[in-house]
């Protein structure tokens, strides 16, 4: 995204704060601590807003899929408009994704932020399930956990 690639020729540029931004790029694996901050950042952005998930890690966990502290699918917690797979994706892939996103916005396909408002309970339940655990996931209180998990679904 630096001068070598010169994304400004496509009308793309970094912004100082999420309150001025249109697109949120989530680059790389998301730990629980990061997820909390991503949600906070996302909810601060004014509408209309879009999310670009970058790299394999945000799609299915990538090489960190079995880590105890890394979420596996970002789209369960915030609505994702477009994903760029690869580990790591090339800068050209990001530029291509942003241009595709522009076309999707023109055609009206990209509107995941509306989905977030409509299905807020679903996203909120998923967020709370991982961020506000009230019982150990493994260990002696296992049965309670399974009951709670089914009740959320």
């Amino acid at each position: 995204m630096t001068s070598r690639w010169d994304v400004e020729r496509f009308g793309i540029g970094p912004m100082a704060t999420p309150r001025q931004a249109d697109v949120l790029l989530v680059t790389g694996y998301v730990s629980l601590k990061t997820l909390k901050r991503i949600i906070r950042t996302y909810e601060q952005m004014p509408e209309p807003k879009w999310v670009l998930a970058f790299g394999s890690c945000t799609v299915n966990g990538g090489i960190y899929w079995d880590s105890y502290n890394t979420i596996t699918n970002l789209a369960e917690y915030i609505p994702v408009d477009i994903t760029v797979s690869g580990c790591m994706p090339r800068p050209e892939a990001v530029m291509d994704a942003l241009q595709t996103l522009m076309k999707m916005i023109q055609s009206g396909e990209a509107g995941a932020y509306k989905k977030y408002k409509e299905n807020y309970e679903y996203y909120k339940a998923n967020q709370d399930r991982v961020l506000r655990k009230t019982y150990p996931i493994l260990g002696e209180k296992l049965i309670q956990n399974e009951e709670a998990a089914t009740s959320i679904e």
Partner: protein
């Protein structure tokens, strides 16, 4: 006064410790829990002024944790690994914060990820994990894959999403 690695090995052997020569600038010493503070004070007095790190190893089959105190000397140019074994069912060891202040963070981290209690350390609050309710995650009996599958619905090989 600069001591060579051989001189240090001799000094430690005279104190009745088991010393292993690992690399040109690295040796390891096996210490018992009761003798640890004494031993580290002695090392500090002969020029080992820098505590680089504390790490723990979980020997689950032997029922023990091994703590390794990495100590480096800028004058002697020797790195000493001080290995202490403690009981896994009662993981307690005296703190060394009074000796090296930076041990505060290392002890907090080891406590967070292995559940080892550093007696005398006033602040063993978590540094990295938030709202952690399971057993400490770097213990060998913690199944990180099962945890990820249950909490995050992780799928091997990416599933078919």
């Amino acid at each position: 006064m600069k001591l060579s690695k051989e001189e240090i090995i001799d000094l430690l052997k005279q104190r009745g410790l088991e010393v292993n020569d690992l690399y040109p600038t690295q040796i390891s010493v096996i210490v018992n829990k009761e003798n640890l503070i004494n031993h580290l004070v002695y090392l500090k007095s002969i020029g080992f002024d820098h505590l680089s790190f504390i790490n723990a190893v979980d020997f689950i089959d032997e029922g023990e944790f091994e703590l390794v105190y990495h100590v480096w000397s800028y004058t002697n140019k020797v790195h000493v690994l001080n290995k202490v074994r403690i009981d896994r069912n009662d993981p307690k060891i005296p703190t060394i914060v009074d000796l090296w202040e930076q041990a505060q963070f290392y002890e907090q981290e080891v406590h967070e990820f292995f559940g080892i209690v550093f007696e005398g350390n006033k602040d063993l609050s978590p540094l990295f994990l938030e709202n952690w309710l399971d057993i400490p995650p770097l213990r060998k009996d913690f199944d990180t894959r099962e945890f990820s599958i249950r909490l995050f619905d992780a799928k091997p090989n990416g599933g078919d999403r």
